[in-house]
């Protein structure tokens, strides 16, 4: 436990209006602990921006800028270029942030540009698997069969009909020096990856699985548990890559059936109604098994 004074000294401070159990705000806190005060952050439009900077208040004790939804990576490119031009880049980390929609959908072009130009920027995608800030609409990173308000389940549908876009591999395809996938459920692993990213010059991509209480529809106390189950089922493989080569994976200590993960979340509730739903759960199990096989998670 931190004392009240220690909490005040954090670079991402309390007082923001994030939900109870918000795994994104937990992750930001952990990331900022490693990056330190010599960091300039950009932020795509989304939950984090809204709940941390309601003028005149701000939870950020570092220089921080939000511009638009799709340009966090481009704004960060400009920040990095300005620091270089002023001869002040040494010792300063440029952090770009976005949610899964701001990163993998509307922001993919500017992110790809930043990667390709290899700016010295760490881009962090907080992946909660939908447009949560606007009220749980599907994104390109919404998992297969998840209920969202624009991929609802119904007589003709089991929810989101496509599997998650594999964003980390898109990052790797740019041959950037470092790509990593982490989870709010594994703070040490997350911080280790942030530390490593901080030490590397060039473009870095870090995707963090951040369970979302209102979007996934679960009790706030399960945020960390769900993040851990996503990893232990094989649905959210954690790994690191340098350029296009995977250099490490987080092994699953004890394989958990996907059902254990799905049943805690309202967004998969419709799969537990009948045999047809159970057949869908089998499909999700197959996705997990394929991940385990492909990444060598066991």
């Amino acid at each position: 436990m931190l004392t009240k004074e220690e909490t005040h000294n954090e670079l991402f401070t309390m007082g923001h209006t994030g939900c109870s159990g918000c795994a994104q705000s937990m992750s930001v806190k952990m990331i900022m602990e490693i990056l330190g005060k010599n960091t300039i952050a950009t932020n795509a439009t989304g939950c984090l921006e809204v709940f941390s900077t309601r003028w005149p208040e701000s939870s950020w004790k570092i220089p921080w800028i939000h511009s638009l939804f799709e340009n966090s990576a481009a704004v960060a490119s400009g920040v990095e270029a300005a620091l270089k031009a002023m001869g002040k880049k040494d010792g300063i980390t440029v952090l770009a942030q976005g949610g899964d929609g701001g990163t993998a959908d509307i922001g993919l072009q500017s992110l790809s540009g930043m990667f390709e130009r290899n700016h010295d920027v760490l881009y962090v995608c907080y992946d909660n698997g939908a447009y949560m800030n606007t009220g749980y609409q599907r994104s390109g990173l919404t998992p297969f069969d998840a209920y969202t308000t624009t991929s609802p389940s119904g007589k003709e549908s089991f929810g989101n009909q496509r599997p998650k876009k594999y964003m980390p591999e898109i990052a790797m395809a740019h041959r950037i020096p470092y790509t990593a996938v982490a989870s709010a459920g594994y703070p040490m692993d997350l911080q280790k990856k942030v530390k490593k990213a901080k030490s590397i010059t060039g473009a870095k991509y870090l995707q963090v699985d951040v369970p979302c209480v209102p979007g996934w529809k679960y009790e706030p106390k399960y945020s960390v548990k769900l993040a851990q189950l996503a990893v232990q089922t094989g649905l959210y493989p954690l790994f690191e890559a340098e350029y296009d080569k995977i250099i490490s994976v987080k092994k699953i200590s004890k394989k958990v059936p996907v059902e254990e993960y799905l049943k805690l979340q309202g967004r998969f509730k419709h799969l537990f109604k009948d045999d047809a739903g159970r057949a869908e759960i089998e499909k999700i199990q197959k996705i997990a098994d394929e991940n385990i096989e492909r990444f060598g998670l066991i």
Binding site: N38, P56, I65, H66, V75, S77, A81, A82, A85
Partner: protein, 390 residues
């Protein structure tokens, strides 16, 4: 030094003299020569700047936004579709009060796709909060870019400035341009950018925060006020430029043969050259005619317009843009300015010409002068249409 320069060369050389530290752009005709010249200057070491060639106009504007927020001088250039694509960011740059300077090589907007000159692209961003200046020739374009940084960076303005230059007509045309030899003199005119609020690890601020209903209107009002205030700053920048470098093109507007004029032609940009030639001929023929040049479209020079036009009979507004569903844009604003000052004795006739690069000829001007004497308050009527394509 007098040189024969293509408009794009003159513009890029003017930008070089302002010494921006970060430039970002994406190629689009007819802006390309400008950014090519700047790239070459950076490659040759003639300009010490980070040149970021990005994957879209949206990112070009976003890169200069991020760099400007760090307190460095920035520049970008675009045209047409590119400007429309970055419009969202232009609003954002203005809203965050960042002094970015950009050139728009004015070009028609698709569809049909057309790479040639008109001013429809500029009209699409007229409410963004960016100051919008319009250059008449290559010399003014060169000088206006240096002035633009001074205006944008004024502590009481802090707004982006768009310098409009007609695509091809200026950007790809060679004219004699007198360039400034002494960069020290430019530095004296344009001191280093000094931003009170910027992204700085020693003094952290949050930019682009959420403005709830209780504060949003005040933020917009402050921007609105800064734009109004910039009128004086634009005029002062022009005067100071004249004192230091000897060239002057008016403040917000400029007059040509306006004494005793009964008919006045109002326009912006390169078409003024053709208009002035036609007016010379008409003057020789004994017509009491003059020209009012709009140098600053935003902020709109209402007072100058009223002062110049209140006693004339006919006003002819030649406009290379149209507002479908209404009519003229500049002509409506001029008519409104006069009516607001209770002047209803002036007939303001707005005509639409030169869309998509169609030439505006001296004959067009002569015809319109003859027409305007018989017509009253024409609202953006198209001139010179080919019946066979309608």
């Amino acid at each position: 030094m007098k040189q024969v320069l293509e408009g794009s060369m003159a513009i890029s050389d003017g930008v070089r003299m302002a010494e921006p530290l970060v430039i970002s752009a994406y190629p689009i005709t007819p802006q390309t020569h400008i950014v090519e010249h700047l790239s070459q200057m950076v490659a040759d070491g003639d300009l010490k700047a980070e040149f970021i060639m990005v994957e879209s106009e949206h990112s070009a504007a976003s890169v200069v936004l991020g760099a400007s927020a760090c307190g460095v001088r920035t520049y970008t250039a675009t045209a047409s579709q590119g400007l429309l694509y970055m419009e969202e960011v232009v609003y954002n740059i203005a809203g965050m009060r960042l002094p970015v300077v950009m050139t728009v090589a004015n070009r028609a907007v698709s569809a049909p796709i057309n790479i040639w000159n008109d001013m429809q692209d500029a009209m699409a961003v007229r409410d963004t909060g960016a100051i919008m200046l319009v250059a008449e020739n290559n010399q003014e374009a060169y000088d206006m870019h240096i002035q633009a940084f001074k205006i944008a960076e004024n502590q009481d303005v802090m707004l982006p400035v768009i310098v409009n230059v007609d695509g091809f007509v200026l950007t790809h045309t060679f004219e004699v341009v007198e360039t400034i030899d002494s960069i020290e003199k430019v530095r004296e005119y344009l001191p280093p950018l000094n931003m009170e609020y910027k992204l700085d690890v020693e003094n952290p601020y949050s930019f682009g925060t959420l403005g709830e209903p209780s504060v949003y209107m005040e933020a917009r009002y402050n921007l609105y006020n800064a734009m109004n205030f910039s009128r004086n700053v634009i005029i002062d920048a022009a005067k100071e430029f004249k004192d230091m470098f000897g060239r002057f093109y008016g403040g917000l507007t400029d007059s040509y043969k306006m004494d005793d004029a009964q008919t006045v032609i109002v326009a912006m940009g390169s078409v003024l050259g053709t208009i002035k030639d036609a007016v010379d001929e008409l003057r020789e023929a004994g017509k009491k005619i003059g020209v009012l040049k709009i140098r600053s479209f935003r902020p709109f020079p209402e007072e100058e317009i009223v002062a110049a036009l209140k006693n004339v009979k006919n006003v002819i507004v030649i406009e290379k843009a149209i507002c479908p569903g209404k009519g003229g844009i500049l002509s409506v604003e001029i008519r409104d300015s006069l009516l607001k000052h209770k002047i209803n004795s002036v007939s303001v006739n707005g005509y639409t010409l030169g869309l998509g690069g169609r030439d505006i000829t001296p004959k067009n001007i002569h015809d319109l002068v003859a027409r305007a004497e018989k017509e009253e308050n024409v609202d953006g009527e198209f001139v010179g249409l080919s019946q066979q394509y309608l």
